[in-house]
Assembly symmetry: C2
Homo-oligomer: 180 residues x 2
């Protein structure tokens, strides 16, 4: 059975997007990387937050950033939203609640992992006790402001367990298990 | 000549202290660690922010958390403050501006590094172009809220270069050079 894994490229100071949701900062860090390729090969399905799917435009029917993982992956995507678009999107299934989205994505992924995309849905998975692992690609940059890995005002300590560290071409991959 | 290095233990989500400045979260991650010992052995002097030195009490004359690095280090400390305490503190030199604090600490450290303690002074060093390296001990925990590695509202991209990664007992040490 695959795991539910939240993966994200993150600046050293903890941001997955710059101010205003800007994802362009990441462009210069993309490129051939065996560590990233290995991660992508283990992904069987995506669980995508509505905000990540639609970007800044709530009426958009197509993903904001073209292909997931910059184009190196093809597979089923599950988007959690109360307002599915009127026209179908190839390869994308719209679900209305988190639990059924996770279940459907896991069934579709089989032995592979379900990869969570989006800080808000990742936090919902964490809060619901559904998140198995976190994989961050720590990128050698400071962004200073923007969207954080998790937004949890007021805080609360959640213990993790380090599983593995790998040095990618420029990013450093860090896998952790959510310990509860 | 030693380098000016900002080092901090940081939660995976980018906090060096919990909500309200709470540093107690770190306690369970302290303990024998050859990677930490190696870092400490390279430190010749400390450059300490006033807030870090005094803690929550602006009138306090002694450091908040007893010994630096949990007690494993002895050496000269330089505290940047416009309001030095009335009575001397052994081993501590009070300086009124950042540049002279950095110069004095570097002179005292000789061939060893000057270690910056405190998010605010670290940011000042970064802004002034004085910071050479950042060393984070990424700790397997999410804190959700608190004091960030750097506070830079509005953001601004600063490129880093990865120098070294080391797996400590539980923390993962990541060294980076400030690339400008």
């Amino acid at each position: 059975m695959g795991k539910l894994v939240y993966s994200a490229s993150m600046s050293l100071d903890g941001f997955i997007a710059g101010a205003g949701g800007d994802a362009s900062w990441m462009t210069e860090y993309l490129g051939p990387d065996p560590v990233v390729d290995d991660v992508i090969s283990q992904v069987g399905a995506l669980l995508v937050g509505n905000r990540t799917f639609r970007g800044d435009d709530p009426h958009r029917d197509t993903p904001r950033e073209g292909k997931p993982f910059g184009g190196g992956w093809e597979g089923p995507q599950f988007v959690v939203t109360h307002h599915p678009p009127g026209t179908p999107v190839p390869g994308v299934t719209f679900v209305t609640d988190l639990a059924s989205g996770v279940a459907a994505a896991k069934a579709a992924a089989g032995d592979k992992n379900v990869n969570v995309l989006g800080a808000s849905i990742a936090r919902q998975c964490l809060d619901a006790g559904l998140l198995d692992e976190i994989l961050v690609f720590i990128t050698p940059v400071l962004l200073g402001d923007g969207t954080r890995l998790f937004e949890r005002p007021g805080g609360g300590k959640i213990r993790l367990q380090r599983l593995r560290v790998a040095e990618g071409a420029r990013m450093t991959a860090l896998w952790l298990r959510v310990a509860g």
